[in-house]
């Protein structure tokens, strides 16, 4: 089950073919290397647009949310067995 975290993070990634791919993120002073992006979900409510990157880092799943209007990153949820 995913546990809500909802904390601001810093994300580093690459642009390729006009598409951003996160590569690592900084959360609680620790860098997490992203091994795989398993899913990309576009979320929209009114004109509030967000893109959720579901990724695997160090064998755990994370949901990173990028607010496209405010250009901010949040670690939204973490998978806990």
């Amino acid at each position: 089950m995913y546990q809500t975290i909802h904390e601001a993070i810093a994300v580093v990634g690459v642009y390729s073919h006009a598409c951003f791919t996160p590569k690592k993120f900084l959360w609680k002073n620790r860098v997490h290397q992203i091994a795989d992006i398993t899913s990309v979900t576009d979320i929209r409510d009114g004109q509030v647009r967000a893109r959720r990157y579901s990724c695997v880092a160090e064998n755990n799943s994370y949901r990173l949310v990028f607010n496209r209007s405010e250009e901010t990153w949040l670690l939204e949820e973490v998978w806990c067995e």
């Binding site: 398993t38 899913s39 979900t41 004109q47 799943s61």
Partner: protein, 412 residues
């Protein structure tokens, strides 16, 4: 034109809700998964391929399934994930062909005729689609593709095949397919129709060919007798033929909610009804529609109550609809029982450009207010501004239904 160039392809993603969750979270892959609407819900709305192999069916009770399959994992559905994936699928099919028809959240039809110069056969197109879905949605997402002369046969072929397969039905195999499948598995034959067919000793669609017309009409009526005859021949019934027509304006918009437990609390019922009304009105206003038939449905403890009213004029304000739902219909409910499900519907919809507007100053004021709220909602989201009734507590937000009955609204 050869028979293959007239073929239809039906693409159906296997166990959509569950497969997408497994794609997103590798820890869930290969495990039997039961998807419920929200945490603590007990009705299974989707099951993974692994769970289906253990006999878990959509619509089963979680309590019963947990007894039979103790290792089952229960996860809440992620509607945003599914809706986003459907958008990607729609874009993908539109990039491949000008004639893709979205049938439900995870099903589409593609007519091969316009693509006959691009692909040597429908099978080649099917293989291309399969690899594109893999690249778009991920390596865990698999699909069934049926290829046949009509949409009906293509759908039947993909639905009866094993997961992750391409099935081509040639004209000489059509009768075998129609004789092999059971009526309850056929799209369009619901529970009651299936029961009537059972009474005629019909278990497979092909058997309908041997029932005299009079007997069939007596059992299921003229309309369904005609539709069933088409199905028995492998031809398309009306609901599939209509996919080729341009989308028509919606006839009604409704919203229902089933709670966790029975509710007697008047304030909670009022609040829930307002929430449902607000969503219905938000949808009709976005589509510039107005309706004049208001319906309310209440159920709980195996009891049901429903009522409707047909108004002389069209309405399209939350205040008006809530008045008719709560102050009029709901107050007529006499033999009260604890409630588990509430449903609100506004029907007989027309474009608001063709219905007369009220000239009363009070109505004009309400319209100005509604327009201002629409502007705020379109910018900041639904319920960014709403009535004080919904100010506190959990709000019911719009959801996508698997059959995508409101696709005209969803793709606005």
């Amino acid at each position: 034109m050869s028979s293959t160039s007239l073929a239809f392809l039906h693409i159906d993603i296997n166990s959509y809700f569950a497969t997408l969750l497994q794609q997103e979270t590798p820890a869930l892959r290969g495990k039997p998964l039961a998807v419920v609407k929200e945490v603590d819900r007990t009705c299974i709305i989707a099951a993974s391929k692994e769970a289906k192999m253990l006999g878990v069916k959509t619509g089963s009770s979680l309590i019963a399934v947990k007894k039979a399959v103790p290792q089952i994992l229960v996860v809440p559905a992620d509607f945003s994930l599914c809706w986003s994936a459907t958008h990607r699928l729609k874009k993908l099919f539109e990039s491949l062909t000008p004639s893709s028809e979205l049938f439900s959240l995870d099903e589409s039809f593609i007519h091969f005729a316009p693509l006959v110069r691009l692909y040597s056969s429908p099978l080649e197109l099917a293989q291309k689609i399969r690899s594109e879905i893999f690249a778009t949605l991920g390596e865990w997402v698999t699909c069934n593709i049926g290829i046949a002369r009509t949409r009906f046969l293509a759908k039947l072929a993909s639905e009866t095949a094993s997961p992750d397969s391409i099935t081509e039905v040639f004209p000489d195999q059509e009768a075998v397919l129609l004789a092999r499948v059971i009526c309850s598995d056929v799209c369009g034959i619901g529970y009651r129709l299936n029961k009537k067919l059972h009474a005629l000793d019909v278990h497979a669609p092909y058997q309908i060919n041997f029932i005299p017309q009079q007997d069939l009409e007596r059992a299921v009526g003229i309309f369904w007798a005609q539709q069933l005859r088409l199905m028995a021949q492998g031809d398309e019934p009306l609901f599939l033929q209509r996919l080729a027509e341009p989308a028509k304006q919606m006839k009604s918009v409704g919203r229902s909610i089933t709670g966790w437990r029975l509710c007697n609390n008047e304030a909670m019922i009022k609040r829930t009804l307002y929430n449902l009304v607000a969503e219905v009105v938000h949808k009709i206003r976005r589509m510039h529609l107005a309706g004049r038939q208001v319906s309310l449905f209440i159920s709980g403890e195996d009891k049901h109550w429903s009522n409707f009213i047909t108004l002389k004029r069209h309405i399209w304000h939350t205040k008006e609809l809530f008045y008719w739902v709560y102050s009029h219909l709901y107050q007529q409910w006499r033999e009260r029982f604890p409630v588990i499900k509430l449903a609100v519907r506004l029907s007989l919809l027309e474009s608001w450009y063709v219905v007369p507007q009220s000239l009363l100053p009070a109505w004009q004021k309400d319209e100005s207010l509604a327009e201002a709220c629409d502007t705020i909602s379109s910018r900041y989201g639904l319920f960014a501004i709403t009535s004080g009734i919904l100010a506190r507590g959990h709000r019911i937000h719009p959801e996508v239904a698997g059959f995508l009955g409101d696709k005209q609204y969803q793709f606005l």
